[in-house]
Amino acid sequence: MNSLASLWGYPLGRLFASTSLTLGVYGFGIVLYKLGRRAPLLHPGIVGIILVVAVLTGLGVEYTSYFRGAQPIHLLLGPATVALGVPLYHHLSHLRERWLPLLAALLVGGSVAAGSAMLIAWILGGDPLVIRSLASKSVTTPIATVIAAKIGGLPSLAAAVVLATGIFGGLIAPPLFRLLRINDPITQGFSLGVAAHAFGTAKALEIHPAAGAFAALGLCLCGVVTAVLLPLIFQWLAG
């Protein structure tokens, strides 16, 4: 036990221990995800995070020394965010026919999701740091973490909140659409992408291919628009 933990005591050991731990839990997560028929709760990101926390806690290793060693993996999150420009470009053509209804729905839906989350946490006496970490809750995780950092929230909490939103959104959407009598696959897909990012897009793909395409469009647009507007709004409120 102790000798394993001591790997994190010096830079090269830290690099080796953190990257192999992260790759190892991810590999395990992928196997589990396939065995569990891709159940959202078994998403390799979620399983991976839980296992890393469990191992670090078990070994008594500080998070900051794990995170410093995991930089080679963490640094790829930036280019991965930029990479979202490719699906955005491909799906932009879907905007052509009904761009106005889609953009209006994006603005209304995105504001309602972020606004109601912050309002509820505020009413229930949540800490300002927590309230700021909830603002990016419906945005895809890599963008949500950088938004949280920009507006003074906690990126790690934002990531957890986003993952929880995705899982819950995928579960609640089908009965909610039935209740509201929303039958159009394009409307269902776009809403899933805007309100429940990648988990919503996976759910939309199960419904209909068109729903999946519009979910991907909603995911990209919601991420970009939220990343542009939220920091501006917070700056304006502060100034």
């Binding site: 992260t22 790759l23 991810y26 990101g45 991976g48 995070i49 890393v52 926390v53 670090l56 995170f67 930089q71 993996i73 963490h74 790829l76 999150l77 280019p79 991965a80 965010t81 930029v82 990479a83 420009g85 490719v86 699906p87 470009y89 209804p101 209006a104 839906g109 995105g110 309602v112 109601s116 989350a117 006496g125 949540g126 800490d127 740091l129 909830l134 809750k137 419906s138 995780t141 890599p142 963008i143 950092a149 920009k150 906690l154 990126p155 790690s156 909490l157 990531a159 957890a160 993952l163 819950f168 959104g169 509201l180 929303i182 159009d184 409307t187 309100a195 909603g218 990343a227 501006l232």
Partner: protein, 114 residues
């Protein structure tokens, strides 16, 4: 490999633009927007260069999220104190967000086609 280099290049460019413009837009998102604009301008040739790298990186997104996500272990006090506000906010705002998007879109689409 060239694709990754292009993506990193756009990230650096994005950080630069975000910094120079004084907007508090995250640099990587500025890079995303610049890449989308460049794709619209240069079309298929640029798309071919970055497509594979983009698919690969986005396919491994769950792996890339683990280091920052594990930071939740430093937040037990916050989670313990604000557990219910966080849960209530997630549950209610996910329902209102889905409903608001779907109802706005279906209302505006119906109005247009009628």
């Amino acid at each position: 490999m060239r694709g990754i280099a292009v993506l990193v290049g756009f990230q650096v460019l994005g950080e630069g633009v975000a910094w120079a413009s004084g907007l508090s837009l995250p640099g990587s998102v500025a890079g995303l927007l610049l890449l989308t604009i460049a794709l619209a301008v240069f079309g298929q040739r640029l798309a071919d260069t970055v497509q594979q790298a983009s698919d690969k990186l986005l396919g491994y997104i769950a792996l890339l999220l683990i280091p920052v996500g594990a930071g939740i272990m430093t937040l037990y006090p916050v989670l313990a104190k604000d557990f219910w506000p966080i849960v209530a906010a997630i549950v209610i705002s996910t329902v209102t967000g889905l409903a608001a998007t779907a109802l706005t879109l279906s209302w505006l689409t119906a109005r247009r086609s009628s």
